[in-house]
């Protein structure tokens, strides 16, 4: 962190300046809520995760060394808070992803031969964003969280593995299946009309 303004701001936080805390919350809560919403389907859970993330950050501010920007530091904290929340919500065994994966004949050919996607449909940004978000929401949690960390949060395989407490190989396997499943979910809406 080489921004003198940000360094001074962190010093105010460390000194317990309540005005600085309010600025921190007002400045960063919007972005943090957006991140929490990616992981958590319930708005109440997303807000709880943001609150829990700020409480963790307040407790840890004395140990914040300034190696990262505040925004990056808070981002990591809210990702962890959202993942923690997701785990506590996972009371029942999750649905299998198999239903969403491509289907194959015994000879290894696809049951439904893939066709191109429509360039026209791929430029309708707002509709497309909703479609992709709804598609991601259909994935079982253990696949969805890997896809979000790798393809949306853009963590590398090792970082995602450490964040989730699973092996790098498990991250790769789940990511590939999650992408395949998402492709299947999007396919009917995006393929070229015949």
């Amino acid at each position: 962190m080489d921004d003198p303004g940000e360094r001074a701001f962190v010093e105010r936080l460390k000194a317990g300046d309540e005005k600085a805390y309010e600025t921190l919350v007002r400045e960063y809560s919007g972005r943090m809520l957006a991140v929490a919403r990616r992981f958590l389907r319930s708005e109440d859970d997303a807000r709880d995760a943001v609150q829990e993330a700020f409480v963790s950050a307040f407790r840890a501010i004395d140990r914040f060394e300034g190696g990262a920007r505040i925004s990056t530091w808070l981002h990591r904290i809210v990702v962890n808070a959202a993942l923690m929340k997701l785990r506590t919500r996972r009371r029942r065994p999750e649905a299998s992803i198999d239903e969403l994966l491509p289907r194959w004949k015994e000879n290894g050919h696809p049951v439904d031969a893939p066709t191109p996607w429509s360039a026209e449909k791929l430029v309708q940004q707002d509709q497309l964003r909703r479609l992709v978000q709804e598609g991601i929401d259909q994935l079982p949690d253990s696949y969805r969280e890997v896809l979000i960390l790798r393809d949306i949060e853009e963590l590398d395989t090792q970082e995602a593995a450490e964040t989730l407490g699973i092996s790098a190989n498990a991250v790769k396997t789940r990511l590939h299946r999650a992408r395949q499943a998402l492709r299947e979910v999007l396919d009917p809406a995006l393929k070229e009309s015949v």
């Binding site: 960063y28 972005r31 957006a34 853009e154 992408r179």
Partner: protein, 82 residues
Amino acid sequence: MLTCRELADFLMAYLDEELPDEQRSAFEEHVRICPPCVHYVDTYKETVRLGRDLCGDAAEGPPPEDVPEALVQAILEARKRG
């Protein structure tokens, strides 16, 4: 010769350049003669791009302004309680 199913299984490793030379050649040979697999590879890559471009920070632009004041106050209260 790879089957279409094997090609789909190896696709991520191929894109990440993690396939050994022999498998890589078999993959590319299959793609040369199988149009449906070309479409599969293209739409798989498009799926990854859509997630990154439409759902990440860059797509969301400025932070949402719909943070409820009640949430801000709850966080500040939690701060005061320590």
